[in-house]
């Protein structure tokens, strides 16, 4: 098994839905701002951008009521940090909902050595992902409705 993996090298990664967040149980306001957090992005820049969008200076831009912070894999801790920073820094009280789930990533592994006859492998990876919804509009209580 260990010897076999050396015969392969990952070539391309298929990211079916690079931007779409996890499905939330709420209907999302049309003005919702979707933030994609990667492990390399600077939390400061993201939060500054989001806060500027939330409190627009000119009247023409649309008023934003909801924000989602989406991340998978390494970016998860950064997304939570961003959401927490946002809550701490803005004066508005947010309603919050957090959804976690798996995000599937497809990877194609090609054989390194062309002399040996090997098939191309398709690898499916399930990576933990998170979606944090911060809303100025009150969210209906899900647990109360089910009882």
């Amino acid at each position: 098994m260990d010897a076999a993996i050396e015969q392969y090298a990952p070539t391309e990664t298929h990211n079916d839905t690079p931007t779409v967040s996890l499905s939330l149980p709420y209907s999302i306001h049309p003005s919702c701002l979707h933030m994609q957090v990667r492990s390399g992005s600077k939390a400061k820049n993201l939060v500054q951008f989001a806060i500027r969008k939330l409190a627009p200076s000119d009247q023409n831009s649309a008023h934003i009521e909801q924000i989602t912070w989406n991340a998978f894999g390494d970016g998860i801790s950064k997304a939570i940090a961003c959401a927490e920073m946002m809550k701490r820094r803005s004066t508005v009280d947010f309603y919050e909902y957090v959804q976690i789930g798996y995000k599937r990533i497809e990877q194609i592994w090609q054989p390194v050595n062309l002399d040996v006859e090997l098939d191309t492998l398709k690898v499916n990876k399930d990576i933990p992902a998170i979606c944090i919804l911060l809303s100025k509009i009150p969210l209906p209580n899900l647990t109360a409705g089910e009882n």
Partner: protein, 132 residues
């Protein structure tokens, strides 16, 4: 971002990271995820808590900092096994770093920073608990 980032020289200060233990809940059905514990062992512990000898209807999985990804993974694996409902909350706690000087002419310092935490409550579906 008004506060300027403080850069410490590893030759001048030794860092002691401290966590105030009082701010954590210590119920029996709390599971704390660390990066050092074996993942399977953590999952086994969760399963034990809801099985007959533990007999809890819900457990809470906590994680912080770099263990967040692991925590989410654990909760999702637990959901796959037990088909429970997840209720996720995020928060952040303040931690203190004590900086001990290694050179004589420096003063000891304290540094506080925020660490994000996650708390996932896993509730078993009602039908399963009634038949127990």
């Amino acid at each position: 971002m008004s506060e300027e980032k403080f850069h410490r020289d590893p030759e001048e200060y030794a860092i002691f990271k401290r966590l105030n233990n009082k701010q954590f809940s210590k119920r029996l059905n709390d599971v704390y995820v660390t990066r050092k514990t074996n993942f399977k062992a953590q999952l086994e512990r969760c399963m034990k808590l809801i099985s007959s000898n533990g007999n809890y209807r819900e457990i809470t999985i906590h994680g912080m900092g770099s263990a967040l990804e692991r925590t989410i993974n654990l909760a999702l694996q637990f959901q796959v096994k037990t088909n429970c409902q997840l209720n996720t909350k995020i928060a952040s706690i303040e931690v203190t770093d004590h900086l001990m000087p290694l050179l004589d002419d420096l003063e000891p310092m304290n540094d506080t920073r925020w660490v994000s935490t996650i708390h996932i409550t896993c509730t078993l579906p009602a039908i399963l608990t009634e038949t127990k």
